[in-house]
Point group: C2
Chain length 466, copies 2
């Protein structure tokens, strides 16, 4: 007799009649008049629970088995036999049931065997992994993350973890969280009465990073192909279904590369990870189709099989202006595209993912490379049907004099970026990269409506969290 995962027990790899032990948590129990109980047991190794048929001849049938409710922890030993019912091919005929943990007050146990609203589950984040939907999200999330690492490894990239606590603001944009060990009830002061950050842990202002891009560029200009995959933070008080204060980002950076190569890399990465999920997580994806978003699988298949359209920003604006659609936000050259515009472009105009390239300089960050037209920069957004922007990237300005000019124009103090300027003084090369928000990738893959359901623990400003 050997202990196996429920995934293994249901796989058909164990011959009929094998004696095995499985361990997990009860989903449901049903008792027949014939003196049998049917216990569905889940261990999270796969979507399905295994059905365990328990005869009333077991010594602890009355004392334990008949007390089993949703959430109880059970070690079941028995024989694998072909299943009589629909669904699984195998079930277990139990010869022993051991209960390691009952459920206190089963009536109030939050995870009952019935559908729960996502709102309710956000309130019981420590228990929601026990539901079908969060089990599935966790497994899909895992497969996406693994596929990301595998894709880069197979393509000769090196993973670099950039600083989380930083003293620079990558974009001059996102609101940042301060990191401090000062006693806020009793702040140290300078002679002039200002807060004395010399006394803080790092002896200066310190914040949580909004992006690892600038840092990873230094590694790119030595190792050629690198990527980050780590947490980033935005202190924007955006309690919406699309924003998180804390999220993971994937940021590859490639040397001797232009915007076209950057777009090709993003297309290859996205197709690779979606393919991996469809192959590895067919059971979980079928559940999402059934219960969450009926196009969850078909839209990924369409995504994988479509060559991405490339559209110049200037052309995209014309398309939108000539669309005859009335948008909430009017479109004209020079404005950033809103989700309504992005979704119109890919869902109604192009009908497949699109890379919009070469945005007006005034709406893009200082480090993006000036195009020869002198008014656009080599930036791109990748838009996907059903969600809008999923990737944002650019070729970086590798010419020091142009970088300096752009920083001056935007009022950015070059003195804060000496090390970044050094990268242009010492063996500069064309290079490019992009950012892919990991939770947005999870949202898109699973067909979720709220990004807070794409993370293990929901984080909401002003809200309980762990």
């Amino acid at each position: 007799m050997s202990a196996v995962s429920i995934k293994e027990a249901l796989s058909g790899r164990r011959p009929e009649g094998s004696e095995v032990t499985v361990k997990g948590w009860v989903r449901t129990r049903r008792d027949s008049k014939a003196g049998l109980s049917f216990v569905n047991l889940s261990d999270g190794s796969c979507f399905d629970a295994i059905q365990i048929v328990v005869p009333n001849t077991l010594a602890n049938y009355d004392s334990d088995v008949l007390r089993l409710t949703a959430g109880c922890a059970v070690i079941a030993t028995g024989t694998l036999v072909p299943s009589q019912g629909k669904g699984q091919n195998f079930e277990m005929q139990a010869s022993a049931i051991e209960v390691t943990g009952f459920v206190d007050d089963p009536e109030t146990y939050p995870i009952q065997p019935k559908p729960h609203s996502m709102e309710f589950l956000r309130e019981v984040a420590h228990l929601r992994p026990r539901t079908n939907v969060f089990g599935a999200i966790t497994r899909v999330r895992h497969s996406l993350a693994q596929a990301v690492h595998r894709f880069f490894h197979e393509n000769g990239f090196y993973w670099v973890n950039t600083p989380i606590i930083t003293t620079s603001d990558a974009e001059g944009a996102g609101q940042m969280f301060r990191v401090s060990t000062l006693d806020m009830a009793n702040l140290p002061r300078t002679e002039k009465g200002a807060v004395d950050f010399d006394k803080d842990f790092f002896a200066k202002d310190a914040f949580l990073t909004v992006s690892g891009q600038l840092n990873v560029e230094a590694y790119c200009l030595a190792l050629s192909k690198v990527y980050t995959f780590g947490p980033t933070f935005r202190a924007e008080n955006s309690n919406t279904s699309r924003h998180l204060a804390e999220f993971w980002m994937i940021e590859p950076e490639i040397a001797f590369a232009d915007l076209a190569a950057d777009a090709d890399l993003a297309e290859a990465l996205l197709k690779y990870v979606f393919k991996a999920v469809l192959e590895e997580r067919a059971d979980d994806m079928a559940f999402f189709v059934d219960r969450v978003e009926k196009t969850a699988i078909s839209r990924l298949e369409h995504f994988i099989n479509s060559p991405f359209e490339r559209i110049d920003y200037t052309d995209a604006v014309k398309i939108l202006q000539n669309s005859g659609k009335s948008f909430d936000f009017p479109v004209e050259w020079g404005v950033d595209l809103q989700t309504e515009h992005e979704r119109f472009l890919v869902e109604q105009h192009v009908g497949r993912p699109a890379v919009v390239m070469n945005y007006p300089e005034q709406i893009k960050a200082f480090y993006m490379r000036m195009n020869d037209d002198g008014r656009t920069v080599a930036a791109m957004d990748i838009l996907a049907p059903g969600i809008g922007e999923i990737v944002g990237g650019s070729q970086r300005e590798e010419r020091l004099e142009l970088l300096d000019a752009r920083m001056a124009k935007m009022g950015i103090d070059a003195a804060h970026y000496q090390w970044y300027r050094d990268l242009r003084r010492y063996g500069t090369v064309p290079h490019a990269g992009f950012g892919l928000g990991f939770e947005r990738l999870v949202v898109y893959t699973c067909g979720l409506a709220n990004i807070r359901d794409a993370i293990p623990y929901p984080r909401v400003p002003g809200h309980a969290e762990f």
Copy 2:
């Protein structure tokens, strides 16, 4: 003609006479009297640079090639031929050299082709990836991280990212960094004059996590086998060669498991990742042996080939007391072991890695499982020759009444841990896990002396950082 990495060009997979393009940064240039220049070019894809033989017949030989210095960025096209010299099997005979970036003021370029002290390189963190040693560390670090993810994936574990910003302190121990968006120059106050954290971003005190363990336990008790791999933070003002304020941790957690299973898992993981590095990074590891730590390879081989010794803490104390050694810190039952004790145990007494188990309850965290003796808990440390502690883990207290008793004894407010207590009320099971500091793993693998050289950017309190 195709662009290839230098790793590919040197691999022997391209037939002699192939025309290829390589792109990278100059390490050295040497000119011969016969009208040839020998340029060593590195792109970080592997340890070695490729030798490029440039004839003075190239049109830009005088204007460009003779100006090449360390750090210049070059695109070289030519033919792969067997190498005449020692070292590589292949070199390139160049037919074209394009320089994308020279080095401003070569005399002051920090990364000269000579050995630099690690102290000096910490001051030029943005350029140190261009050195042999940081190129090698980055590649080894990558292989370790990939192997960690692969090991868990192959063994049915799911990756869970636990919150970075948190309101709970996992150990009641480590000093924490506060995370805040309050204006410190003008703090909001309550009527009583205290700082009003209701006005802060999360409407309460928030900190950077010291460990994901408590959070990941909730996932373990639904998905059975899970792990974290993400950053953790300790605001300890320990400017030593062994401590970092920000570091990455690997924290697996397994359900239906005891301390022995936990130790087995850690042993299997460590052996797997060291094997992967020896296989994938033979070139980089040979460099570490040559320049950094002459036992770098042999000690990993020894580690892989040794079954770990299991020692009870109580026996370890007796061994140390009977050793005849005089330690800086005296040993008696009840004290925590210091590095000098740990290294004596594994280096002189056991001669291979050891798992020390069952520590006195008073020196261990509240969540560790009480043993039947009533005075020790099911904790373990894994000690390795050459470094001391590399893994710390425990079986968790899954019995609610014992957890509550321990929290009460330690003065921990159970009200802060209701969700954690819930995990014991609803289907509790024996479970266990451990923490492996990723940077310590890198230090040990490469044979480094200072943990600040195991991270991409050094972070020292009161010190310049990025």
